[in-house]
């Protein structure tokens, strides 16, 4: 039952959304990438979110069930999208195959932009929870004046 819980949850949301945004910009930057360190064209990446408890096991055991149920969020992993590659006829490309086709990542710019807006709005919502908690905190401090 403290203020820091609200701030920690907000912070976990902010950091998860920032990771999401990084992954989206990576996808957008690599729209036409045909060479990667792993070999072959770039594969679209996406993030997996997971609800996560905020406390260490000890504080967890000491707290009430209600407080244990309130969870933050984290990015549990970055997964590679298995959608098939886009094949474009471009015989002049250095990575073109025998028939003159180049394999490019199947990244839909509109889809990525939509995801980016979602990440942005979620980030804003989390920032709003933090500023809300801060308002409450400051108001409670006024009691001591």
């Amino acid at each position: 039952m403290d203020f820091m819980t609200a701030l920690e949850i907000g912070a976990s949301g902010l950091s998860a959304e920032r990771t999401h945004l990084n992954i989206i910009s990576m996808n957008l930057a690599n729209v036409n990438t045909t060479r990667t360190p792993e070999g072959g064209p770039y594969r679209r990446k996406s993030v997996v979110f997971q609800a996560t408890p905020l406390d260490s096991p000890f504080t967890k055991a000491m707290r009430s069930e209600l407080e244990r149920e309130v969870k933050g969020v984290k990015v549990s992993g970055v997964v590679t999208d298995q959608r098939p590659l886009r094949r474009v006829y471009d015989p002049g490309h250095p990575d073109a195959d025998g028939q003159g086709y180049v394999s490019l990542p199947d990244i839909n710019v509109v889809e990525e932009m939509a995801n980016m807006m979602t990440a942005l709005r979620t980030y804003e919502a989390n920032a709003a929870t933090i500023s809300s908690a801060k308002t409450m905190f400051n108001k409670a401090l006024e009691l001591g004046r």
């Binding site: 203020f3 949301g13 933050g72 969020v73």
Partner: protein
């Protein structure tokens, strides 16, 4: 309880605690807005609190017999109901948290929290006035 602080001050403290907890619950929901399979949670205490206070929404006593004495509210014995929404709303297989609802809950909660703090402040100011004026 006849003392420097009226019993309402314990009630106000309890409600502030509840509102803070609700802020935490809403923050948790908003952080997990894109977590697959996450179910929105909410914290309800108003109705139970009214009942514990022996009042209904119109502020009237609800004693079942005139012989009953109105019991004094004990802030330590009161706790909120924690509700897990068991039917997540599925939109494109991911979001179970209603953003509009959560943001409104949060705004309402913060406003009521701040109002309660202001009434508490006024209460203390009143006490101070009585003390300083009485000492003259």
């Amino acid at each position: 309880m006849k003392s420097l602080f009226g019993s309402h001050i314990h009630l106000q403290g309890k409600v502030l605690d509840m509102r803070l907890e609700r802020q935490n619950v809403v923050a948790g929901n908003l952080a997990n807005i894109k977590t697959p399979g996450y179910k929105a949670r909410s914290l309800e205490f108003e109705d139970d609190l009214q009942r514990a206070l022996g009042l209904d929404a119109r502020g009237k006593m609800t004693r079942t017999s005139p012989d009953h004495m109105p019991a004094e509210f004990d802030a330590r014995k009161f706790s909120a109901d924690f509700i897990k929404d068991l039917k997540p709303r599925v939109v494109q297989g991911e979001d179970a948290v209603d953003l509009d609802k959560e943001m409104t809950t949060m705004a309402k909660n913060t406003l009521l929290y701040n109002t309660l703090i202001t009434t508490l402040q006024k209460n203390f100011e009143g006490l101070k006035t009585v003390i300083t004026e009485g000492g003259k």
